[in-house]
Every structure is written in C-alpha cells, then in structure tokens.
C-alpha cells in the first residue's frame, strides 16, 4: 500500500484539532445562578462520566472524519499482484534434458506444468519453452490455453544436457526484448551438474522472477553409468593389441560399492562380457581386447547389465570402421631423405593411425592420381610438375588435404605450390647462433589438440627451430608461432579440403622437432585431421555439431549431403541437404552421414555423462537463485519493475465514501447532543 500524493499526509496535523477540543481543552461551563442551593445536591462525578462517554463517540467520529479526508487527498492505493495484469508474461520452462528420463521425473514435471497452466488467469500471456541442449521456444507469448496446453503435451524428454548458465543468458536476452515483467516457472530436476562454473551466469534479470518447481529433491537416486569409452575410430588390424581394444570407465553416483557386469555389443551381438568392481560413488575401468570386427562400419555399444534407477544411461555407443591401411603420398625433394625417415617413423608409431607412407620424388608425380591417398605431404617439394600441382588443387577442392613443409629448398624457390602466397623471407636462426623456439601453440587446432597441455607448452617448448620461412598468413589460421612471431603452422581451407603449411622442415636439419616425442603426437593428430577419419566414425556427444561441408562458397557443382538418423529418417530436407554446412546431433544413437566430399560416416552419439549425476542443487543455492536478481539495478529500474509487477489501485473513492458515512454519523450524533431536551411530563 502507498500514497500517490503523500505530501497531503501533512494534513494529519489537523487531527490535533479534535484532540484539543475534546480531550485537552477543559470543559468550560458558565455558572448558572439560582436563588438558593437549598434543594440541590452535588452530582459532579456522574455528570463528568456522562459527558465523557457522550463526547468520546463524537470525538472518535470527528477524528475519523479528518483522518479519512486527509487520506483521501493523499490518494492511497494498493498494489495488486501482477499475476492478473495483462502485460505480464508467464514463462513456462520444462526441462527435457536427458536426466529427466530417470523415473517419473518428466511426467511429474509435465503434470505440474499443466497444473500451473490451469491456474493461469485467462488474460495472462504465457510462453512454453524447453530446456534441453538449448532453450527452445515452443510457442509465442499467447493467452490461448489450448495452444499452450498442446505445446506442453507435445514435449518429450530429450537427450541433451541442461545448462542453467545458458538458461540464464537466454532469459536475460529475452528480458531485453520483452519489456514486461516475466515470471519464469522452471520445472526441472535441478541437477547440480547443470550449474555453470560461475553463478553469475545463471542469475535472472531484474524484470524476471524465477519460480523453481523442483521435481526431485532430497537424496539422489543411486545411478551407475558408462562414463566414457575409449575405442579406435579406425581399425586396420583387429589383432593389433595396441589398437584393437576398447576401454570403458564405469562410474557410480551416490552408489554403494558393487560388482557390475559390463558387456561389449558389436553390431547387435554380444562380443564380450566383463565383471568389474565399482567402489562406492567411484569409478572403475574395464577393457575389451582384442576386437573381432568385420570390414566397414561396426556399431558398437558398451552396456551395463542389471538396470538401475536410470537405465537410459547404462549404455554408450560408438562406431568403429575397419579398413585396410590408407596410403599417404609423401612428395619430397630429390635430396630429402631424412624427412621421409622421420615422418614415416612417426606415422607408423601413431597408435590409432592406419596409414602406409608412399614416398615419391617431386619429379615423379606427373602421373599420380592424388585422390587415392588419404592425404598428401609435400616435404621441401617447392617445385612440382604443373600437372601434378593442378591435380592437387582439384584434389584439395574436393575434400583432400595436403601438408606442405618448407625446408631449405624454399630459400631458392620463392613460390609455394598450392598456397596462394609466396615466401616473403627466410629466417636462418642457426647463423645467428640461437635457435628459435615455439612461442605460441593453438591447442584447439585438431592437429595440435591437447586437452591439458603442460607447462612445457605441451612439449613444444623444448623444440628448437633453426630455419623457418615467412609467409603471408592471409586468410589462413595460424596454429603455432615461433618465439619471434614467425608463423610456424598455418591452416587454410581450399574448397572442401585443407592445406596445412609448416614453415620449417620435417627433418632434423631445420629443427629438432622430429627428435621430440611431441612430433609423433603431432603427426598422429595431423594425419587423422588431414585424412578426415575422425569425422567418419567414433562417438560424439548429443547436441554437438558435425560439419557437413566447407564453410567457403561452393565452386562448380554442389554436392548434396545426406543424414540418416537413428530412426532411419532423413532430418534434412532436399534444400537443406544442398546448403547445410553443419548438422546438430540431437538424439542419442547412431547417425549415418554422407559428407559433401563423398565420404560416408557412421557416428555414435551419447548423452553428456554429466546428466547421469542425479544429485540436485542444494536447497540454499536454489533459494539463492530464485531470489537473485542481476547486479544492482538502478532505482528507476526498480520502480519500473515494481510498477510492472503490480498494478496500483486507488482507494480514493472508497475512502471518500467512508468519510461521507462518518460525516453523516457525526452530524447525527452532534445534533443529538445539541438538541433541546424535551420535558418529561
């Protein structure tokens, strides 16, 4: 309650008038002369009480009258809750993440959401959204309850991972566009793992009120899951113990120590079974080796037997492609033998690589068809036959990949084949007496990818470079730089393919990289990156994206892509198949994909295993979240929000009506006091 004109409350000082007249002022009585008091008796006490009783009623009425008049001028109002205002938006968010499949969580959440919708005022607008891998709007802000009801009914549990940080960002973005107060009703199991690292990311905006409807509280259900599976995407020799094995980690959340049976299923048949002791709320690994798989794509699954409270996460799928070793064309300068040796050794040492190196002098490449090779390496081969160079260009534009290593030969030949630019300069660090080191490494690049690089810059800090050339990066991505800023590794897309440019050699003359262990890892990852075998099999997480074609503008005839989901349906339309660059893997299972470069792939998609931890957010954190508002909004914003959340209703008429009634009563009482007392005969 408040006052629209509070300054009129100063009129309350007028209340002192009746107080003074009735209570403070002494009762003045003019003495009345009589002939004699012979027949009179004193009656003071009774008369005083009588007077006080009579006048207190009059005083109360006059006091109330003045009070009501002052209140009427001050124009009091009450705020009605914003739930009945037309401009108020109720945002119904239903968590359809993977963890909602546990027990009856999703059904309960949907039921509660429908109950909330049933209690919604008819005029109030509402919007239905889902919180899975991403916040998805199912309706516009509408007041049609039938549409809202059907929208909620249509929601099915997904395989994505809820992220309250993304949720907070989305609501904040919505609040900036929707200039009405928002009541956010979140129906979720409130998983602790859905919280972002920074609480500020999930804070609601000032104009939004978060109402949590936790579905599962209290002690989380014990749940075991196949947390991770390490399996080769490519398998050339099932008998090779280094490659032909699958390692799985079984994790328990809020579980007692127990023995679990783990099964490897290949193409629907049980290939092997292991028993593993999983400690209480701990992890245990299990290994299957060797793998008996046929040629082509093998759909594999590591499965936990004996279902628990959340059976949906008891399996992890992946695909393994068995094929013969792929050939790699290694084009070198005539006098370059060291590079072949080092590169060949590193490529064969790579655990999951299945490549056969085919060295060839540059002069002999005239009749070579590059499309037969997984990728091509140009080691110090700066002078190529023009026909081979043209072949390589077509090869790359259709999806092939080339690694160019610029050895000392670049010093005499400034042009770089396939690369759009020339050699600008050469750095011979050995002449200066000090070798260059690797200063900056982009570990997110697939060829240099390391999850947690060490303090030695992932092993690159120990390498020394004695020779490097300087090229114009142009539109290429610089993946590594030397300590003097010279680009060391550049990646450039060309059509559907990639060109990696190493500005130094692959031998031990221009650098000592081949002598360091990081060289093997580099060659391994680079080979997989250039061959594209990673994208053809293995496993992905739900809501991850698969790149279907290059981001550059297509040249010539446009090839269609094809995606077949786990139900055998094609989620992409014909138009999308010709234009889509990426595809989002929304559901768990096997996807069959044909890329624009003509390669086929089968990818196993698994839910994010963080969804398997069913422990909810602590109640105090939930309370903190639902009561949190962003930062310190300005006073005007506060007022605006307060105004928006409630509608002031003036009580002026009611107060004036009451004042009128009191005035009538005061008149009646006062006239009764002032009236002439009738003589009783």
């Amino acid at each position: 309650m408040g006052f629209l004109a509070p300054w009129f409350l100063a009129g309350l000082a007028a209340l002192a008038v009746p107080v003074f007249v009735h209570l403070l002022r002494k009762h003045v009585t003019i003495p009345r002369p009589v002939s004699s008091l012979m027949f009179f008796e004193r009656g003071t006490q009774s008369s005083t009480r009588h007077r006080r009783l009579r006048y207190l009623l009059l005083f109360a009425l006059r006091f109330a009258l003045l009070l009501l008049i002052v209140l009427a001028f001050a124009n009091p109002f009450v705020r009605r809750p914003a739930t009945d205002t037309a401009g108020h938006l109720s945002l119904i968010v239903l968590d359809d993440s993977f963890s909602m499949r546990a027990g009856t969580r999703f059904a309960d959440a949907k039921q509660q959401a429908l109950q909330l919708l049933a209690t919604k005022p008819h005029s109030q607008k509402a919007q239905v959204m889902t919180l899975g891998g991403q916040l998805q709007m199912l309706t516009q802000p509408i007041s049609d309850e039938a549409q809202l009801h059907s929208a909620i009914e249509s929601i099915q549990p997904g395989d994505g991972r809820a992220n309250f940080g993304e949720f907070g960002r989305s609501v904040r973005a919505m609040a900036e566009m929707v200039h009405v107060p928002i009541d956010v009703h979140l129906f979720s199991d409130m998983q602790r793992t859905a919280m972002p690292a920074n609480f500020a990311e999930m804070v609601m905006p000032a104009s939004a009120t978060l109402i949590l409807h936790p579905i599962a509280n209290g002690t989380p259900l014990p749940n075991w899951t196949v947390e991770s599976v390490s399996a080769p995407a490519e398998l050339e020799d099932p008998k090779d113990p280094r490659q032909s094995r699958v390692q799985a980690v079984v994790a328990g959340f809020s579980t007692p120590a127990t023995e679990k049976t783990v099964t490897l299923v290949v193409n629907g048949k049980v290939a092997a079974t292991r028993k593993v002791n999983v400690p209480a709320s701990g992890r245990a690994s299990v290994e299957f080796a060797p793998l008996g798989m046929g040629y082509g794509f093998n759909r594999c699954e590591v499965r936990l037997e004996n279902h628990d409270a959340f059976p949906a996460d008891d399996a992890s799928v992946f695909a393994v492609r068995r094929s013969d070793p792929e050939r790699v064309l290694f084009v070198r300068a005539a006098n370059d033998t060291r590079a072949t040796l080092y590169f060949s050794s590193a490529l064969s040492a790579a655990a999951q690589g299945a490549y056969v190196l085919q060295p060839m002098a540059a002069e002999q490449t005239t009749d070579i068809d590059a499309s037969k090779y997984a990728f091509v390496v140009l080691s110090n081969a700066v002078s190529l036959p023009s026909i081979f160079e043209h072949t390589l260009e077509q090869y790359v534009s259709k999806g092939g990949s080339v690694l160019i290593a610029l050895g000392p030969g670049a010093r005499s030949h400034m042009r770089i084949p396939l690369w759009a630019g020339d050699v600008k300069d050469t750095h011979d660090y050995a002449r200066n007496g000090a070798a260059a080191t690797v200063g900056q490494v982009d570990f997110t690049h697939p060829a240099l990818e390391q999850a947690q690089p060490g303090r030695d810059n992932g092993g690159w800090a120990e390498t020394k470079f004695f020779y490097a050339v300087t090229v114009d990066p142009q539109h290429a991505r610089v993946a590594a730089r030397l300590s003097d800023g010279t680009p060391l590794l550049l990646d450039r897309r060309m059509g559907e393919g990639h060109i990696l440019l190493l500005t130094s050699g692959l031998e031990n003359l221009t650098n000592d990289l081949p002598l360091h262990p990081v060289f093997v890892a580099f060659v391994d990852k680079m080979a997989r990156y250039l061959s594209g075998s990673d994208a053809l099999s293995g496993s992905r997480l739900v809501d991850s994206f698969v790149q279907l074609r290059s981001a550059t503008e297509p040249k010539g005839e446009v090839a269609s892509v094809e995606v077949i989901d786990l139900d055998g349906q094609r989620p992409l339309s014909l138009a999308e198949a010709r234009t889509a660059q990426t595809f989002r893997l929304q559901r768990a299972g096997f996807y069959q994909i044909r890329f624009a470069n003509g390669r086929d792939a089968i990818i196993g998609v698994n839910p994010d295993r963080r969804e398997s931890d069913l422990e909810p957010i602590a109640p105090d954190v939930q309370q903190l979240w639902s009561g949190s508002k962003s930062g310190a909004p300005k006073q005007a914003d506060k007022i605006a929000v307060a105004d928006a959340k409630s509608r002031p209703i003036s009580l002026w008429w009611y107060v004036m009506l009451l004042a009128l009634l009191v005035a009538l009563a005061e008149t009646a009482v006062a006239s009764g006091y002032m009236g002439t007392q009738r003589e009783e005969v």
């Binding site: 009585t29 009589v34 004699s36 009179f40 008796e41 009656g43 008369s47 009783e680």
Partner: protein
C-alpha cells in the same frame, strides 16, 4: 385591561405609581363585572325590624314609603392598617425571564399600597428586610404616604441573604396597631423557622398573609446538561446533573411549598404562592378577601 396585569407587560412600565394605578384600575374594572364581589364602605344590607333592635338604624325613609320597618345595616369604618414586609435578599434577584422576583414583589406591593391608600383610605406601611430591617416606613394615611412608599420600594435593592429570625423580632415593636401584615418573600428557609418567626404577628391580632414569590424555573427547573449552579446569596457553587433537577429537586420543592402552606394555615395565616409568570390579580384577590373577612 386584563392584559395589563401580565407581569411581562407591567415590566415595561417604569413608574411604580403608574404601574399600581394600571393594575388596580384594571383589576377593579374586572370586579364590576362580577356579581359576587362588591364592597361598600357604608351600606351593607336591609333587615326586617325585630323588637329589641336599635331604632337608630331603622331606615325611616323607607318606612315612610313602605310603612314597613327595616334596619339599614352598615359596615363599620375599619381604618385597617396594611403593613408589607418585603424580602430584599439577593435570592429575590433571580429570574429566568424578563422579570425578576424582586420586581414582581415590588409590583405587588405597589399595587396593594395603591389599593389600600387610594381606594380604601387605609394606612399603609413598608418594612424592607433581608437579614435585618433595612427600611421602615410607618403605616400612615397622611398626604404623600403613597409616594413615600413607592420611593421605599424603589430603594429596596436586594443586598444580603434572608434571615427571618432577626428582623421579625423588630417587626413586633414596629407594628403597634392590628392590621393586615403581608410578607412577600421567596421563603428559602425551613417552613418551621419561617412560621415560628412570623407567628408572633398573628398572635398580636394581625391578619398575616405570606406571598410566596417563585420563578417558574424554581418550580420546574430545566437542565439540558450538567451545570454549575451558583447560590445568589452565598456564592456557593455545586455541579448538578439534569436528572436530579428533573426529579429530586421538584419533589423537594413541592414538599417545601406544601409544608409551608400547611404550616402557615395551621398557624392561622394565609399563604399564597405566586409564580412570576402569573397575572398580578392573585395577590390583589387575596388582599381583598382579607379585607372582606376583616370587616
């Protein structure tokens, strides 16, 4: 003429002489219309002669005309003396209307004096008293007596409180001849004391009349709210509630009047209560009644 006896009208007449004349003339005019009342100083009645009657009273003129002997009876020459004892205490100042009790008492006294001196040729005197005798005008029929009496009335302004005991001791020494004694007062005293104080006048052969002058508000007081009442004689103040004035006071006042009436009559005196909103003829009738009885 009767309207001139209205006290409210008489209050506008400043001269007591004119006022008394107006009252008495008006009253007398009213009497002529009444066959029951008539009085004469000489002739009373005729009566048939019976042996033994004094022949001096035979009406020989009538005998000569009718040859019958009738005695002509005369009322004796009374030469009565009128003495008015006027209470001039402060309580006589009370009024709830245009006329104070004191003024009303003056009007009565003036009218009685006028009637006695001008009409009856009686001697008239005045004693003004409160707690003592303040003025004494000896009863007389001398020339100018009426003017002196009126002057005495004019000077009789209330001052002190009433005390019947002290002044009435002097009355006996001041009133030597028998006559009519009229006491005009509001008699705020115990009836027993009043009668005891006035009784000796009766014992001396006086015809005593008590004119009890009261204001209407004294008989039936009206209080709309609790009020503080001030005694005009003692300045004492008390707070009185309307309920008391409406019930208990009236009962006490009526008891007082009744007691006074009974005690005075028991003592052979006449009592007449006069409320100041009544016409003045009540007092005059009382006086004339006494005169008639005295003859």
């Amino acid at each position: 003429m009767q309207r001139f006896l209205n006290p409210a009208v008489l209050a506008s007449i400043s001269s007591l002489d004119l006022l008394a004349k107006t009252v008495v003339d008006g009253f007398m005019a009213g009497l002529h219309r009444s066959p029951d009342f008539g009085f004469s100083q000489e002739f009373a009645e005729y009566r048939a002669y019976v042996p033994g009657d004094d022949l001096r009273y035979v009406d020989w003129n009538l005998f000569a005309r009718t040859e019958r002997s009738y005695l002509k009876r005369y009322r004796g020459e009374t030469n009565s003396q009128l003495a008015i004892l006027l209470d001039a205490s402060n309580s006589m100042l009370y009024t709830s209307g245009p006329l104070k009790k004191m003024d009303y008492a003056r009007f009565i006294a003036a009218s009685l004096f006028y009637l006695a001196i001008r009409n009856q040729r009686d001697a008239a005197g005045l004693i003004v008293f409160d707690d003592e005798v303040r003025e004494y005008i000896r009863p007389s029929t001398r020339q100018g007596q009426l003017a002196r009496l009126f002057a005495g009335l004019e000077r009789a302004e209330p001052r002190a409180r009433t005390d019947f005991g002290k002044p009435l001791q002097h009355f006996q020494s001041l009133l030597h001849r028998r006559g009519i004694v009229i006491v005009i007062s509001d008699f705020y005293e115990e009836p027993k004391k009043i009668v005891r104080a006035i009784e000796p006048l009766r014992f001396r052969g006086n015809d005593v009349v008590l004119f009890h002058i009261l204001d209407p508000q004294e008989v039936r007081p009206v209080l709309n709210a609790p009020a503080i009442l001030v005694d005009l004689e003692t300045d004492q103040k008390i707070e009185v509630i309307p309920a008391y004035a409406k019930t208990t006071y009236r009962a006490k006042m009526e008891a007082h009047i009744e007691q006074l009436r009974s005690r005075t009559r028991g003592a052979g005196m006449d009592y007449q209560m006069i409320v100041t909103d009544q016409p003045l003829d009540a007092a005059l009738r009382e006086y004339l009644t006494l005169r008639q009885e005295g003859n």
